[in-house]
């Protein structure tokens, strides 16, 4: 773990992707097989392979209790230290007591500790084990041991880069390593196979989520040079999901590769009898996205909730058919395989000819309560894990509003020192009413400057200083894709997908948009409560 920590610090100390990968590759090359298998996982911020469904279950409270026990610091001081550092592993590395005879922490020991922590049910036993680890080993190893537990190394190293480093360290093509990891999902196995030159032998693992193919956004469909080479589908306002089926077993995964099987038992039931092994790409839908979120929030769902908020799965692509990956078959072929399954709900594909047709289809999709259009290039392959130019999403923002910032929140990790999340309001007379919260849209430099400005406007601090209420002076322009009724916000509305377009230094809080204008937008263009999708087989030409 000390050598891993040393390599990780070198990775952190450069902004260059190429240099980061080179540092990891040279470290991986120095390891024996057993340690290689461990190191690739830990460097990806995982104590266990992602194919392993078991969880470590070490929360912040457990970590804090162990830290208090190991260092002797009181809760108040610890909380403040954590706030300033913004990362548990780094906090521990600063606070653990210097020990004269610290034992090196081997990767094998780390693996044993992760295993013991996972098997342990009692929180107090976990706390005791962590405490003794904190008192036995030294800072650099502990820092990355704990970062592996919390799941984020914060050194600017994504799993994709670890894949590339494996490729470099074993002289394999990067694409081969990436594809093998996507199929198998176990980075340890991938690293060992790469070293043994047996990557091709890694087969697709069912019930491990494959990377989704993502679409590039376009605002102006006129940019499309060759409409006749594309097909259109509605872009649904649901939860993009991957559905795995084999031998009566069904699992669902989100785009974030989280498993959501337990939240949607009726979907599981509906697909149980499908012949597998099979993997579908599609969308989970309810009558509105708002209601869908309520379903997703529950780990276990009650019969009452299932009755109140019915959901279903609309399939639009197929990734595995009869146990075979079909990524590299053309769109039309995959569509045929999908249609042959005879599912009740699949997306409707319309071949395109003209730009005017795209406009018409877009408006129809919106009228059906869908978000916009998906355009897919004819003959294209399923490019797993890529935001490829062969899928385009046409969303068109509903509009922009000028709003004023009323509160700001400190970020985590890289953004620990700055106010990266802002809450904003519209105006009603001389009152400011919150309408949403946004995270991104500004550059690092702008966030830094905004932080300075907002800190000077702070009226009150909450949550140990993380959240600051500010005088409403900073005006931002935000774009959004829809409006929802929301009891959580004083304005009575919430913006869908709000994003900061620009900082309007030219405007004063008096100049921002009013509640009356938001009412007006909501009357003219608010997304309808009832979302209609193509679920009638007659409407689907493939049936």
């Amino acid at each position: 773990m000390d050598a891993l920590a040393h390599a990780a610090e070198r990775v952190a100390a450069t902004n260059s992707r190429r240099e980061k990968i080179a540092h990891v590759a040279s470290y991986l090359q120095s390891l024996n097989d057993a340690d290689l298998a461990r190191a690739v996982l830990y460097l990806s911020g995982r104590p266990f392979p992602s194919t392993d469904p078991r969880k470590l279950s070490v929360g912040y409270a457990t970590m804090r209790a162990a830290l208090a026990a190991a260092t002797g610091w009181d809760a108040e001081t610890l909380a403040l230290c954590y706030r300033e550092v913004g990362d548990s592993g780094e906090t521990i590395s600063h606070l653990c007591r210097p020990i004269t005879n610290a034992e090196p922490l081997s990767l094998q020991q780390a693996e044993t500790h992760f295993e013991t922590l996972r098997k342990t049910r009692l929180t107090q036993v976990k706390v005791d084990l962590l405490t003794s680890i904190f008192q036995t080993h030294a800072a650099p190893a502990l820092k990355f041991f704990v970062k592996t537990i919390t799941g984020n190394l914060r050194i600017g190293l994504q799993e994709k880069m670890v894949e590339e480093a494996i490729a470099q360290a074993t002289s394999q093509p990067a694409d081969a390593v990436r594809a093998a990891n996507n199929r198998g999902g176990n980075l340890s196995v991938v690293a060992l196979s790469a070293r043994a030159n047996t990557l091709e032998s890694i087969v697709a693992t069912l019930f491990h989520p494959l990377d989704f193919m993502l679409a590039q956004p376009i605002d102006e469909t006129k940019e499309l040079a060759d409409p006749e080479n594309w097909v259109a589908e509605d872009k649904y306002d649901g939860i993009r999901s991957q559905l795995h089926v084999a031998n009566g077993k069904v699992k669902l995964f989100t785009r974030g590769l989280e498993e959501t099987t337990d939240a949607f038992p009726e979907i599981i039931l509906a697909f149980t009898n499908l012949p597998g092994p099979l993997i579908l790409d599609g969308e989970i839908l309810a009558t509105s996205f708002q209601l869908l979120q309520q379903r997703l929030a529950r780990k276990k769902v009650s019969a009452k909730m299932m009755a109140e908020i019915p959901v279903h799965f609309v399939a639009y692509d197929i990734l595995m058919h009869q146990g075979e990956l079909v990524f590299d078959r053309p769109l039309e072929h995959r569509r045929q395989l999908l249609d042959n399954l005879g599912l009740v709900r699949t997306s409707q594909q319309t071949p395109l000819q003209t730009h005017a047709q795209i406009e018409a289809l877009f408006n129809e999709a919106r009228a059906r309560g869908n978000e916009g259009l998906m355009l897919k290039r004819r003959g294209s392959l399923y490019e797993s894990g890529k935001r490829a130019a062969n899928w385009l999403k046409v969303k068109k923002p509903l509009g922009t509003l000028d709003v004023v910032v009323t509160a700001a929140e400190q970020g985590h990790g890289r953004r620990a020192g700055v106010l990266s999340d802002v809450t904003f309001a519209i105006r009603d007379g001389d009152k400011y009413l919150n309408i949403g919260k946004a995270y991104t849209g500004l550059t690092d430099a702008e966030i830094k400057e905004l932080t300075k400005v907002l800190r000077a406007l702070t009226i009150e601090k909450f949550a140990g200083g993380r959240v600051q209420i500010v005088r409403p002076e900073v005006v931002l322009e935000v774009a959004f894709d829809g409006l929802q009724k929301s009891p959580r916000h004083k304005s009575g509305y919430a913006l869908r997908f709000p994003r900061i377009v620009r900082w309007r230094r030219d405007k004063r809080p008096e100049d921002i948009d009013t509640l009356a204008r938001v009412h007006q937008i909501s009357l003219g263009a608010v997304l309808p409560e009832k979302s209609v999708i193509t679920e009638n087989p007659e409407e689907n030409p493939a049936k």
Partner: protein, 313 residues
């Protein structure tokens, strides 16, 4: 002795003396020449000779104005309205000093900004036992641990050499008075050529007068700028690396705040353990803490049996 902590600064009403006031006052002690401590035209200003010269450079006297500059070098004493004032060495920037005030049988020490470790440029801190200590806490949390000067100098030189060896330009961020000159002096000791931003270069003669050497100007070496200026250096990102030499570099999130690649945690302020050492050495019966993490440090000191409180200015 009664001490008043006001937005304008620290005031000792019994002898009408202000300590590092932020506004012009009749009589001020200037602990060192950073502009948040030595600022404005006071009628009378007391400081070490070096601080006096740096202060005059930064706050020139307009033609029609007069000002009484009183020099009190470390070890020297003067009588002031019934009190005895003695300057004591403070390790911080060149010329920094603590002020010892003896009045009616009580000894008060105002540290100004201070650290306990040996600085690259400047003198060592002279610890003085006292009854009442007024101390700063810029880095008064246990997460802050800094390097010894020698180790920091090694890292500065190694960073510069490693960059130059692969054809990259090493850029250092350092403050205009203090850190900037310490980095430049370190590069000179290691014979690494360097270009220095004018705001740092302007004060180099005051350091040369105290015997410190500086590198020759060369376009083919390191670049030394004040924080924030590194973005203006016309070198493409792939051809440069930036190091932040600062107490804030003790935390990894300094990378995001400063755009630095490499962090070298060296400061002219005390880290947490140095603060504890300084306080133990002066062993005061009353501690007032100003700047930084005053409330949490007071809380920690009280747990250790000290009579400590946060002094809000």
């Amino acid at each position: 002795m009664r001490v008043e902590f006001k937005p304008e600064g620290i005031h000792l009403p019994a002898i009408d003396l202000w300590l590092d006031p932020r506004v012009p006052v009749p009589a001020a002690w200037l602990s060192h020449a950073h502009s948040d401590h030595a600022r404005g035209l006071h009628e009378a200003a007391i400081s070490t000779a070096i601080t006096g010269r740096l202060y005059r450079h930064r706050w020139p006297l307009p033609a029609h104005r007069t000002q009484q500059l009183l020099t009190l070098n470390p070890g020297q004493s003067m009588e002031w309205r019934g009190a005895t004032l003695t300057a004591r060495q403070a390790a911080h920037i060149l010329g920094a000093a603590q002020l010892e005030i003896e009045y009616e049988g009580e000894r008060l020490i105002y540290t100004g900004d201070i650290k306990r470790r040996t600085p690259i440029c400047g003198w060592e801190t002279q610890p003085i036992p006292c009854d009442h200590l007024i101390i700063e806490s810029t880095f008064g949390l246990p997460i802050y641990q800094f390097l010894e000067a020698a180790e920091a100098q090694t890292r500065i030189a190694n960073f510069a050499r490693e960059c130059l060896a692969v054809g990259q330009t090493p850029i250092f961020q350092g403050y205009g008075l203090g850190r900037g000159q310490e980095i430049a002096h370190t590069l000179a000791l290691h014979e690494i050529p360097c270009q220095v931003h004018h705001s740092i270069a302007a004060l180099i003669p005051y350091f040369e007068a105290e015997g410190y050497t500086f590198p020759t100007e060369s376009a083919n070496g390191a670049i030394l700028v004040t924080p924030g200026q590194e973005e203006k250096v016309p070198i493409p990102p792939a051809k440069r690396k930036t190091a932040l030499v600062s107490g804030w570099a003790a935390l990894d999130n300094a990378r995001a705040r400063s755009n630095a690649d490499v962090l070298i945690p060296y400061s002219d302020h005390a880290d947490f353990s140095e603060l504890l050492t300084l306080i133990a050495e002066s062993n005061p019966s009353q501690i007032d803490i100003v700047h930084g993490y005053a409330a949490p440090l007071a809380h920690i000191l009280r747990q250790r049996g000290y009579n400590a409180r946060e002094a809000r200015l």
